[in-house]
């Protein structure tokens, strides 16, 4: 169950680094270049890196339905993200972003957040991606262009990603090590849980693994949270949306006399 097998604390186990490096190499090979991209080798490297990370313990190893669904959605999200990063055709990239959004929605369902799953899909897959596609069709009627068939410094970008992912995993692993040793405040999934604020009169129930139960009526409780403790931010978000709408109209407006000539 533990994400990282118990080891000497503070030492990064280099298998993870090598697996991530393989993934970075795969994405480097998959990024579009003028010479065309090495699709087969790149996909093999990226998939191999994903499988290696799973084998090393980055994926939970249970036989429950929840674990199976987690595997499915996590793999779909990551594969969709790789497609999004490496597609030459921007319209296809937008569609693979829809795949990522749907898979993340599945993960949110597993995390007992059905309202967020729906909101996420409606806002992203429904509104934002469609707007992106509109602008894409408005701006790019001549098919693929110079901007799509080239990458800007793909090697440096992949190196940045490798460094960032390795340090993030190192952080997660250190946390896990501290939890195993009983240092630190968080102890993996058995952390002491703050009482559920909205249901304080009820005794806090726990699932067998120590995780607190989430209220089944997610939407009701989320609404209560939003309009009691988060009321001011809700109003501010509304104001922000209004300002952004006005700003977008103002920016994109074509006014006579202000045309910029290249």
């Amino acid at each position: 169950m533990e994400l990282f097998a118990a080891g000497q604390p503070g030492l990064f186990r280099f298998e993870y680094f090598f697996a991530l490096a393989l993934g970075a190499l795969g994405i480097y090979l998959l990024l579009p270049t003028p010479r065309g991209k090495a699709s087969v080798a790149g996909s093999l490297a990226a998939l191999g890196s994903l499988g290696w990370l799973c084998f090393l313990g980055l994926a939970p190893s249970g036989m429950t339905v929840e674990t199976g669904l987690f595997h499915l959605f996590a793999a779909l999200a990551l594969v969709g993200a790789v497609f999004l990063v490496t597609q030459t055709n921007p319209a296809r990239a937008a569609l693979s972003f829809v795949m990522v959004v749907i898979s993340v929605g599945g993960l949110m369902l597993l995390l007992a957040a059905p309202f967020l799953m729906a909101a996420n899909m409606i806002v992203y897959a429904g509104a934002i991606v469609v707007t992106f596609l509109f602008v894409l069709m408005l701006a790019q009627q001549g098919g693929a262009s110079d901007a799509d068939n080239r990458s800007r410094e793909p090697g440096l970008a992949c190196f940045t990603g490798l460094a960032l992912s390795a340090s993030l995993l190192l952080l997660l692993q250190r946390d896990q090590d501290n939890a195993n040793l009983g240092l630190g405040q968080m102890k993996g999934i058995n952390a002491p849980i703050a009482a559920v604020r909205l249901k304080q009169e009820e005794p806090l129930r726990r699932e067998p693994n120590g995780r607190p139960t989430a209220p089944a009526d997610n939407t009701t409780f989320l609404g209560q949270t939003l309009y009691t403790s988060l009321l001011l931010p809700v109003e501010l978000a509304g104001a922000l949306l209004l300002v952004a709408t006005a700003g977008a109209i103002l920016i994109a407006q074509r006014r006579p006399g202000t045309e910029v000539t290249p």
Partner: protein
């Protein structure tokens, strides 16, 4: 041991997936040159962050994290609207979505990035010979219903 094996995925697994999504978004944002794709990659990063928030909300057993994701959605929608308006303006000035055409905005003293490799020319499509249509036209399918 058996009971441990059957536990559902924990906080760290979701955090790892969120981190990988974020990193992929960063790679795409740095490496792609199409402005629209760059902003799609920024949205990908936001997805990773939202997953982290929801995982922490589940872990702590309260709904503050989920509430925060709603604000994240609102900010992402604002960002998309403003970004698309800006992209439209930039497209009108340069007639291209390529972000490298705006290199004159770079820092002082930096050399502009020049593409050494030319793009391969698209193969010329040979026009297939066509004959003028002769004879009676093909039979049209008859309408079967007249509702």
């Amino acid at each position: 041991m058996n009971q441990i094996m059957d536990l559902p995925p924990g906080l760290t697994h979701y955090l790892a997936v969120g981190a990988l999504l974020f990193v992929l978004g960063i790679i795409g944002f740095l490496a792609r040159r199409n402005m629209i794709l760059m902003f799609l990659n920024a949205e990908l990063m936001i997805q990773g962050v939202a997953l982290n928030f929801v995982a922490f909300a589940r872990h702590r057993g309260n709904l503050e994290g989920q509430g925060f994701v709603l604000f994240l959605l609102a900010v992402a929608a604002c960002e998309a609207a403003i970004a698309l308006a800006l992209i439209l303006v930039l497209y009108r000035t340069q007639n291209s979505l390529d972000v490298s055409l705006w290199q004159n905005l770079r820092e002082e003293g930096l050399e502009p990035i020049v593409d050494e490799e030319p793009l391969p020319l698209a193969p010329l499509e040979e026009k297939s010979p066509s004959l003028t249509v002769a004879g009676p036209g093909p039979a049209q399918p008859e309408e079967t219903s007249h509702v």
